[in-house]
């Protein structure tokens, strides 16, 4: 597996979440419906690296600093 992080995701592509950062933030992501192995759609990548991902109809915005800690495949 390569070490690509979510902040590098291309807009309009599907990607697999491979590793989430551990701790509280992981729990919060799981609750929002994002867990390891999930396939999500990168809806938007804003200048600066804020990422908006979509899973089904659910849209979630993830700040750059957090996106950097999420590995994707």
């Amino acid at each position: 597996m390569n070490k690509k992080t979510l902040d590098k995701a291309k807009k309009g592509t599907y990607l697999t979440i491979s590793t989430l950062p551990s701790g509280l933030v992981k729990i919060q992501l799981i609750r929002l419906g994002i867990s390891e192995g999930d396939i999500v759609f990168c809806l938007e990548r804003l200048p600066g690296g804020t990422i908006i991902i979509q899973k089904n109809r659910q849209e979630i915005a993830i700040g750059y600093d957090l996106a950097k800690q999420i590995l994707i495949g």
Binding site: E44, L46, K55, A61
Partner: protein, 680 residues
């Protein structure tokens, strides 16, 4: 009605469970129904339906930290804050957790459009071994989007009743009673059940055992057991997530149809390229609505004509009947020049001299007349004089502030209901990062342009103390509230374009400077943005009106006393001569350093009480455009109003609050002076 049986259990910061426990015990005879759900699922509408009482529907996450309680038949009904799971991550969850643990029946409200997210909570509630019924709300929306949910199958898999409703059309509400009566314990996942068994023996209830296993330290401490490790929690969460995902793929079929107008608008408002013009458009609309229509036109009518011209005039005139009074009446033309002036002196009072009283009455009612009452008795002056605690409070509260607050809450409710605010937070996230905040902080700052006091309360929704401090400081230093903004707008439009540019540049520079310094000084790092974007929609008016009404009411209830206190303080300073002493004290700074007339100091004194009083105090002075620029910069940076100081002390503590307050004094005069030395 059941209204008398309702009250709000205020959440106390430190020990939420203690208070609520006590309250719950007192009602122990009745069975407890608790409404639980994620944010924005329409829980409150069901609460409203069951108990007949209105509660604030959908909120910014974080602003409601209270539990609302009502009565339905022989049940007590509780509404809880929106949560994504039961645990102790934040204040909302702690409050909700205690109520849920104590519940007899849980009505779990689910947003059918976000099944995957919401059923996660449902699954946790079932695993807690509680009696649950599920309400699938937004069923109309689901059909509109051509999504099919197999409710029966969902009910079979979960092992509890599932009913479909639509809060807007009230469809399915007749099935709520059935859901309550048939609430039951759902199907337990086998492997989790075994895991729970060990803890269960020591804790006593399945619900608490689950929370302990999930690492809830407070509950673990209560029973003297060790909380589960982070690994345990993760395993439980991931298993649960997998179960939910599997379940959803079994019960939900969809026919993806995209490209709706609001979807597009939501998308466009995220990217700065298109989002900034949308923001600009919204701000312009807001300016015309709040700044122009309400702050200028409406308020000049309500405050000038009804408030001062009618209510205050009649009260003072009535008081003058019984006490020694001197009344100066000036008649002004359209441009505000005095064209005629008369003075009436009533000794011992107005009643004793009917002839003169009649003359006054006629003259003071001529077109353009303004009456100034001077009462000899100091107590009367304190209550009804120029800064009279009763007369001034009445006029400002009801005729200046009330229309502004209504307009402001209305605008905020519209933005909130549309789902725009989280998108704005997302768009600005990166630029907020550079000043040590994440995008969420945009919400209190936006609110600040309406009312700094209210905005200071909403800093609660931010992730860390550090972010709360930075945002509070920004609000108290640089953000002018709508009342002050209105006065500044009038002053600056008279001064011209260059002063406007200087003003905007200076204030913006201070904002960047202040937040950068705080970001460097304060230890720690700020939390990254993680926000769920609700669907964009056209605001629903009944929702917006209710919200506006209840928030306005809440604000007036909270703030009124402080306006009265403030007016009383300035009144006492006026009568005792302290006001003049203070003016003279500030005079060297005012005249030499800021290069303004000595009387400008009164504006600053007034500014301590109310921000717009301060700015309004500048109206009566003759100033050059550059002096106006200096004066409004200083008054903007100067201390916030008494009400927001009090709220800040409550939210941020005495020490931090006083440092920020003192800081505004220093910054205001320092920056104002530097600008003055450069441009005048």
């Amino acid at each position: 009605m059941s209204k008398s049986l309702t009250d709000i259990v205020e959440h106390k910061d430190k020990h939420p469970h203690l208070n609520i426990d006590k309250d719950l015990q007192s009602q122990s005879k009745m069975k407890k129904i608790v409404l639980v759900g994620n944010p924005n699922v329409g829980k409150s509408i069901f609460f409203n339906f069951l108990s007949g009482i209105y509660v604030d529907v959908s909120n910014f996450p974080g602003t409601t930290l209270s539990i609302t309680k009502g009565v339905y038949k022989n049940f007590t009904v509780y509404d809880t804050p929106g949560i994504y799971g039961v645990s102790s991550f934040n204040d909302e969850e702690k409050v909700a957790r205690d109520i849920i643990l104590d519940a007899d029946i849980i009505l779990n409200v689910v947003n059918s459009l976000h099944l995957e997210r919401d059923i996660f909570l449902t699954q946790q509630l079932i695993e807690m071994g509680k009696k649950v019924s599920v309400i699938l709300n937004f069923s109309d929306e689901v059909k509109k989007r051509k999504i099919i949910i197999d409710t029966k199958k969902l009910s079979d898999i979960l092992g509890v009743e599932v009913i479909e409703t639509s809060a807007v059309s009230k469809k399915g509400f007749d099935k709520i009673e059935f859901a309550i009566e048939n609430a039951r314990i759902g199907k337990q996942p086998h492997d989790l059940h075994e895991l729970l068994h060990k803890t269960l023996n020591r804790v006593g209830s399945q619900a608490e055992a689950l929370l302990v296993l999930e690492g809830d330290e407070i509950i673990a401490e209560k029973h003297g057991v060790n909380p589960g490790s982070p690994d345990d929690r993760e395993k439980i969460y991931i298993d649960r997530r997998n179960r939910v995902n599997e379940l959803i793929s079994d019960v939900q079929y969809e026919d993806t149809s995209k490209g709706k107008f609001f979807n597009l608008l939501g998308r466009l408002s995220l990217n700065p390229m298109t989002g900034l013009p949308i923001l600009a458009f919204i701000l312009v609309l807001l300016y015309f609505f709040i700044g122009d229509l309400v702050a200028q036109r409406t308020v000049s009518f309500t405050e000038g004509i009804i408030g001062k011209g009618y209510v205050e005039y009649n009260i003072k005139s009535f008081i003058a009947d019984y006490t020694q009074t001197k009344i100066n009446v000036d008649v002004l033309d359209d441009e505000g020049n005095i064209v005629d002036s008369k003075s009436f002196e009533f000794i011992p009072n107005k009643k004793s001299d009917p002839a003169l009283a009649k003359e006054f009455s006629i003259f003071s009612k001529s077109i353009g007349a303004e009456s100034h009452f001077h009462f000899s008795n100091p107590i009367v002056r304190l209550l009804f004089g120029e800064f009279g605690a009763i007369s001034m409070t009445l006029t400002y509260l009801l005729f200046l502030l009330l229309p502004l607050v209504i307009a402001f809450y209305f605008a905020m409710a519209m933005l909130e209901d549309s789902g725009y605010l989280p998108r704005l937070a997302t768009m600005l996230d990166r630029s907020m990062n550079s000043i040590g905040l994440n995008g969420r902080a945009v919400i209190p700052i936006m609110l600040g342009f309406g009312c700094v006091t209210m905005a200071t309360i909403t800093t609660r929704l931010l992730g860390s103390e550090r972010e709360k401090t930075i945002t509070t400081a920004i609000l108290q230093f640089v953000i002018p509230c709508s009342a002050q903004l209105a006065v500044i707008a009038v002053l600056i439009s008279a001064a011209g374009f260059t002063p406007l540019m200087i003003y905007v540049i200076v204030i913006f520079t201070v904002l960047i400077l202040l937040s950068t310094i705080l970001n460097k000084l304060l230890p720690g790092t700020s939390s990254p943005l993680l926000i769920d974007l609700p669907i964009m929609r056209f605001p629903q008016f009944d929702n917006v009106f209710k919200k506006t009404f209840f928030r306005t009411y809440g604000f007036m209830k909270e703030a009124s006393i402080w306006f009265f206190v403030g007016a009383l303080v300035v009144g006492i300073m006026d009568i005792t001569g302290l006001l003049v002493v203070f003016q003279n004290l500030l005079a060297p700074i005012t005249t030499h350093w800021l290069q303004l007339p000595k009387e400008a100091a009164t504006a600053f004194v007034m500014g301590i009480v109310r921000r717009d009083f301060g700015a309004a105090g500048l109206f009566s002075l003759v100033l050059t455009p550059m002096q106006i620029t200096v004066a409004i910069i200083t008054i903007t940076l100067f201390v916030p109003c008494i009400a927001s100081l009090m709220i800040m002390l409550k939210e941020r503590g005495l020490k931090e609050g006083m440092i920020i307050w003192a800081g505004t004094w220093i910054f205001a005069f320092l920056i104002g002076g530097i600008v003055s030395q450069i441009i005048i």
